[in-house]
């Protein structure tokens, strides 16, 4: 799984950090999303999908990768 974030769309709700703290962080100066892991391990996939679903600004996407089947 590859994770993509759009910092311009982000509204700093913090929903992604609560869902998957290993994958998402927030910039100190304004709380805007920062990606900690662009290709997180499969064990975190559900957490990442929850972050995608909960993001109020729809600023997170995932691309499922073939090599992970």
């Amino acid at each position: 799984m590859k994770v993509i974030v759009d910092q311009n769309k982000c509204v700093a709700s913090g929903q992604c950090v609560l869902s998957a703290p290993e994958v998402f962080d927030q910039r100190a100066e304004d709380g805007i999303v920062v990606l900690r892991a662009e290709t997180p391990p499969e064990g975190l996939a559900d957490d990442v999908r929850q972050a995608v679903a909960l993001c109020p600004a729809q600023a997170i996407w995932v691309e499922e990768q073939e090599d992970e089947q």
Binding site: K9, A12, I32, L54
Partner: protein, 412 residues
């Protein structure tokens, strides 16, 4: 299909129901029955507001969420058909329009000036201080007479102390700003009352910004003062943002504390489960479920369509007002099975109690931590906590833009 109105029907008929609607007498935690009927039979239909206008009311979860995230929907309160909450809120917005009533890019520019304070890391760092505040207030309650009004002794002071500390506003002034913010959220307040309350709060916050300009500290008002100094905000805009954060920061959480306690006392199995769990995940889940179940921001999110929008078999026309009923959306059986049951073990994180879209509540991480600390502490430290008044006699905020209880006498 809809018995209330059809696409293209511009003349409101006599059938258009008044909004907000009335809750059923014996169901103080449930949305008005008429809202459920609409959700079931006419999920997007016209309602009549206090000023006679007839915007669309949207009641199903999927539609509410989709429209709140739709860039063709505006929060701009200066637009002609913006469905204002009440005469008082209309007057307040007229005097002090903040980023919650603007669209991007202006909204994003201003919101980002204050988002740092509410990041997960910043708010988590406050947890020990919040715990100390909560423990101190419980110590005082336990040492004092009983019964006691939980609203005045606990529910209001917790978020008020926290937001004062964050903003850098003296807590000693709390009677002043609580009284004035109360006027602004009452549906029955007049325009004149709202004008005076808004002026007083803006003048107060302007004075505080002045103090921070002279003596900067590590708080939000100092950050805003710095923006004023840099020419990025006017004094009035800075005072308006300070006022928004101050008023939003305590009324909402205070109502969640008092109404949440009442809901748990009425659901003793859920209260036992919460009290006996050592798992922070259970506490966090209980907070989300109470946010969903109570949906205290019960007057709908207010918007205007910027384009013709086809949704649920209806066409919302450009320029029409739209009210997104997040309270009944949080009771939509298609999104939450057995929605009228309080169940702290469900996973309801997709609720729309904080709204959705780019305007979703800025302070939500802070509200979560405050409520987690309160719900994990109060009922353990006072395990015999109980009502000191019949449920039928408790004064609910039926006339408030934010729901809750005016007082909650408790004993132990």
């Amino acid at each position: 299909m809809s018995t209330f109105s059809a696409p293209g029907t511009d003349a409101p008929s006599a059938q258009v129901p008044d909004y907000p609607m009335t809750r059923a007498a014996r169901c103080p935690f449930d949305p008005p029955p008429a809202l459920h009927t609409l959700q079931d039979q006419a999920p997007i239909s016209r309602v009549r507001l206090w000023d006679g206008s007839t915007p669309w009311l949207v009641t199903r979860y999927d539609d509410v969420r989709a429209l709140l995230a739709d860039p063709r929907i505006s929060s701009e309160s200066n637009l002609p058909h913006y469905p204002h909450l009440s005469p008082a809120q209309k007057e307040r917005r007229r005097q002090s329009r903040t980023f919650i009533n603007m669209d991007d890019p202006e909204h994003a520019r201003l919101r980002r000036m204050v988002t740092a304070t509410f990041s997960i890391r910043q708010v988590e760092a406050l947890r020990p201080a919040i715990q100390k505040i909560v423990d101190g207030l419980i110590d005082t309650m336990l040492a004092g007479p009983k019964p006691v009004d939980l609203v005045q002794a606990f529910a209001l002071p917790v978020p008020s102390l926290v937001i004062c500390e964050l903003l850098g506003v003296p807590y000693a002034d709390h009677d002043f700003f609580q009284a004035n913010s109360k006027i602004l959220i009452k549906r029955t307040s007049t325009v004149e009352q709202a004008w005076v309350a808004t002026q007083k709060l803006l003048e107060y916050l302007d004075r505080q910004i002045g103090v921070k300009l002279a003596h900067p500290a590590d708080d939000v008002l100092s950050t805003l003062a710095e923006r004023v100094r840099a020419g990025e905000l006017s004094r009035r805009e800075a005072a308006g943002m300070g006022m928004l954060l101050l008023t939003a920061g305590h009324e909402t959480t205070a109502n969640m504390i008092a109404l949440g306690t009442l809901a748990l006392l009425q659901n003793p199995d859920q209260l036992d489960r919460l009290r006996e769990s050592d798992d922070p995940k259970t506490v966090a889940s209980a907070v989300e479920e109470l946010l969903r179940y109570l949906s205290i921001v019960h007057s709908g999110r207010r918007r205007v369509a910027l384009a013709d929008i086809e949704v649920g078999g209806v066409t919302i026309r450009t320029g029409e007002g739209v009210v997104l009923a997040n309270d009944v959306a949080n009771r939509d059986p298609d999104a939450f099975p057995a929605p009228d049951q309080l169940d702290i073990d469900r996973n309801p994180r997709h609720h729309v109690a904080f709204g959705f879209g780019v305007h979703q509540c800025l302070g939500q991480p802070l509200a979560r931590v405050e409520l987690q600390v309160v719900y994990s502490t109060l009922y353990r430290r006072i395990p015999t906590l109980k009502l000191a008044m019949d449920l039928d006699e408790i004064p609910f905020k039926h006339d408030g833009n934010v729901y809750g209880v005016y007082e909650l006498p408790v004993t132990w």
